[in-house]
């Protein structure tokens, strides 16, 4: 046996890969292939479906009808990914460098929401954000918000829901990347006269703070400009004094693989998500997942649904490829593996 394996060294890696490959073959490749075939069907459940390559028109039909919804999905998923990044990076940074003996507890808290069903958590948001719920109720009572104001059934609610749901997927990879940063490099940078980040800190801080507050002002329908100015000033001051050159030149570049992996882990599932749009959104906030779900389950229109799914898959591939080109200092698989 020993000599047999010695002479056939290729067996060991293959045996190790076999369970995973088999799994993918049965539960991914086969259904995907089925779905690809289905996208070339025509007909209906009642009359039966027939396969023909001439049904490639399913694709342009699907795209032309649902282009606005694809665009909306990309926008929502993109906005949610950026927001998760803005929240997750400081969070992961704090846990990695300032966590001390609470590190494990803090990490547990990041993961803790997973102990409850995704659906339940989304429904809870519905209760929290309801028109006269614990958040908006008091604000309306003291007159800060108009009575007609509501968060639910708006794009903001859907984006916030996605942001919340995928926050741990962004936080954990960034944390892992930051954890590995050799702090001696930061010390070395400081020895080499890396001080506060000036003037870059103030500029970036002003932009980040300004944009964030402008969005908030826009959402609450007050005055975005005033909000933006306040945000820009606070952001500029904060970044001016608190962001060091060693962070910009050493820590952040070393953590970029985590940012990359987190971005993928957030953006890809977010773009296909339909639960948040279903529960927190309104009639004008549907995402492509909602359309595909309706096509498959209520219309029994398997060909269109399959075509829509494949367009989405290829769209995501293209977006990810561009993203990898811009941000991918590491190989995609390496970054994912590290996550």
């Amino acid at each position: 046996m020993g000599t047999f394996l010695k002479h056939h060294r290729w067996i060991t890696p293959l045996a190790l890969l076999a369970p995973g490959l088999l799994w993918l073959l049965v539960f991914y490749l086969y259904p995907a292939l089925q779905m690809f075939m289905a996208s070339f069907w025509s007909g209906s459940l009642a009359t039966g479906f027939t396969f023909s390559l001439s049904n490639w028109t399913n694709y342009p039909d699907a795209v032309s009808t649902y282009a606005p919804i694809y665009l909306r999905s990309v926008l929502y998923a993109g906005a949610a990914t950026v927001t998760t990044f803005l929240i997750a990076y400081p969070l992961a940074y704090t846990i990695a460098f300032k966590g001390g003996r609470f590190k494990n507890l803090l990490l547990f808290l990041v993961v803790a929401p997973f102990f409850t069903s995704f659906l339940l958590r989304t429904v809870s948001w519905k209760i929290i954000l309801s028109d006269s719920g614990p958040v908006l109720g008091p604000l309306k009572a003291i007159g800060i918000l108009p009575q007609q104001f509501h968060v639910l059934a708006s794009p903001m609610a859907v984006i916030a829901g996605i942001t919340y749901a995928f926050l741990p997927f962004m936080t954990l990879p960034i944390y892992v990347a930051l954890e590995k940063v050799d702090f001696r490099l930061v010390e070395a940078a400081k020895d080499l006269y890396a001080g506060p980040w000036r003037p870059g800190g103030a500029i970036v801080g002003a932009i980040v703070g300004g944009v964030l507050m402008a969005v908030l002002g826009f959402v609450f329908n007050t005055s975005p400009l005033a909000f933006a100015i306040v945000g820009a000033v606070v952001g500029a001051v904060l970044f001016h004094f608190r962001v060091s050159e060693s962070f910009v030149r050493v820590t952040f570049p070393l953590s970029i693989s985590g940012v990359f992996a987190g971005g993928l882990l957030t953006f890809i599932p977010a773009i296909g998500d339909y639960v948040n749009a279903e529960l927190l959104g309104g009639p004008n906030t549907s995402m492509i997942g909602n359309v595909i779900q309706a096509k498959f389950l209520t219309e029994n229109d398997y060909p269109s649904a399959s075509a829509l799914s494949f367009v989405m898959m290829f769209g995501v591939l293209i977006v990810v490829a561009i993203y990898a080109k811009i941000l991918g200092t590491e190989e995609l698989s390496a970054a994912a593996a590290r996550a």
């Binding site: 209906s44 009642a46 039966g48 209520t298």
Partner: protein, 437 residues
């Protein structure tokens, strides 16, 4: 037992559970897709030859599965379905049956048992496996469709499906024809309005289980009195942005047709297009907050919605949480509401179709129907149940949402059946409205 005890004992109606089922959809879709890879001939009456060919193995499998002296589902020489010579279920021995129904849709005692089923089991000495297996018509269809199409048993003796889905299954020839002689109580007690559906004349394939009304649900404290369906399409600061409509196409389109003075019992594409125009206008005017399943009940009790298209059974329960709410079919005499039913049927290939008939008939004995109605808050299709309930639980017997007077029933419409082409046209148009495409 008072009404409120009963109601708080069952805080979730079956429709409230609908929403969660969306998540299980993926499984159903995979199930539906798996068999679709081999392109099958049409399972309609037009393809009668194929259906007849597949009827034989189905009958064989059925008697094989029974493993006893039970009757087979149909003679091996069965004629094609949906023809005048379609055979009825023959009498046979009584054996264990399996029944698929919606959640919280039958009487339950303190121990979680179903007393009316226990009584049936005792009387006939058989076991009834009652499963709350249906959360959504399309979902369940996805599960049984591959077997039915392949002429194989589904594993169910009774399935409970809403009108339009029942119509679809019957038109495909996938439902056994009932034997009236085996169901004397059903023949005697089914209310008249159930005998005239166009998709199953003479009620030969189905027995209604429960019905419900779809109408206007509103919070009069906010909206004032709402007496017309036109309110759904009229911008008004009291309810703009706080209107929920249903994702169930036949309910929302049905009520919209009524509001436009169109007849939902004869749905046409032109009428449908008019509805979509009206609904799109209401959506763009910001009147509609969202399209939901049973979720509207949460919105209504939280105050996120104040004017909704509502199901009567949910309203009975909502009234316990928020007594001020109102359910209306409109008071101006022009408008009404929709009536829908969930129907018991015996799918082709059922192992024990005869026992299934006996069980269906069991619920047309008024005392049994009354026991169910005392727990479930929908409309009872069995004549005489209210008479029994007047003694047992007068508050239920006098509740117009559970036993609507004939004058109310007369104002309700049943959504007419659609050709497959029209159905696809309606569903696509409606989903595009909901999803904003």
């Amino acid at each position: 037992m008072s009404t409120s005890d009963k109601l708080t004992g069952s805080p979730i109606s079956r429709r409230r559970l609908l929403q969660g089922s969306a998540l299980m959809g993926t499984a159903a879709f995979l199930a539906a897709c798996g068999t679709k890879g081999t392109v099958s001939p049409a399972p309609t009456a037009a393809a009668a030859a194929t259906t007849a060919a597949s009827a034989a193995p189905s009958a064989a499998a059925a008697s094989g599965a029974a493993g006893s002296a039970a009757p087979s589902a149909a003679p091996a020489s069965a004629a094609p379905t949906a023809t005048p010579s379609e055979p009825m279920i023959p009498n046979g021995t009584v054996a264990n049956v399996v029944w698929a129904n919606w959640p919280l849709y039958i009487d339950v005692d303190k121990n979680g048992n179903h007393p009316t089923i226990q009584a049936f089991e005792k009387k006939y000495g058989v076991k009834v496996t009652y499963k709350e297996a249906i959360n959504d018509n399309n979902d369940f269809f996805g599960k049984i469709q591959p077997n039915l199409q392949a002429g194989q048993p589904t594993g169910w003796d009774i399935i409970t499906m809403t009108d339009w889905m029942a119509a679809k299954l019957i038109s495909f020839g996938w439902i056994e024809r009932l034997n009236p002689a085996a169901m004397p109580n059903f023949q005697a007690n089914v209310k008249d309005q159930y005998k005239t559906v166009d998709w199953d004349p003479d009620v030969a394939h189905h027995a209604p289980w429960q019905s419900g009304m779809t109408g206007i649900g509103y919070d009069p404290k906010v909206t004032g009195s709402v007496t017309t369906l036109k309110a759904f399409f009229t911008a008004d600061p009291r309810w703009t942005g706080k209107v929920d409509m249903l994702t169930e196409m036949r309910d929302t389109i049905g009520l919209t047709m009524l509001s436009l003075g169109l007849d939902p019992s004869k749905p046409t594409r032109a009428a449908f297009d008019q509805c979509i125009t009206a609904l799109t206008a209401a959506k763009n005017a910001g009147i509609i907050r969202r399209f939901t399943g049973n979720d509207y009940s949460q919105d209504l009790s939280a105050g996120d919605a104040v004017l909704v298209m509502a199901w009567s059974g949910d309203m009975v329960q909502l009234l316990v949480d928020k007594p001020g709410l109102k359910f209306s079919l409109g008071a101006d005499g022009t408008y009404g509401g929709m009536l829908w039913s969930d129907n018991m049927m015996v799918p082709k290939g059922a192992a024990q179709p005869y026992t299934a008939e006996l069980l269906m008939d069991w619920y047309y004995i008024p005392a049994n129907a009354a026991a169910v109605e005392d727990y479930v808050n929908y409309i009872c299709p069995c004549r005489g149940a209210d008479v029994v309930l007047k003694k047992l639980d007068p508050s239920v017997a006098s509740n117009p949402l559970i036993f609507p007077p004939d004058s109310t029933l007369a104002r309700l419409s049943i959504f007419g059946s659609l050709t497959p082409d029209d159905e696809s046209y309606f569903n696509t148009g409606f989903d595009n409205l909901i999803n904003g495409a």
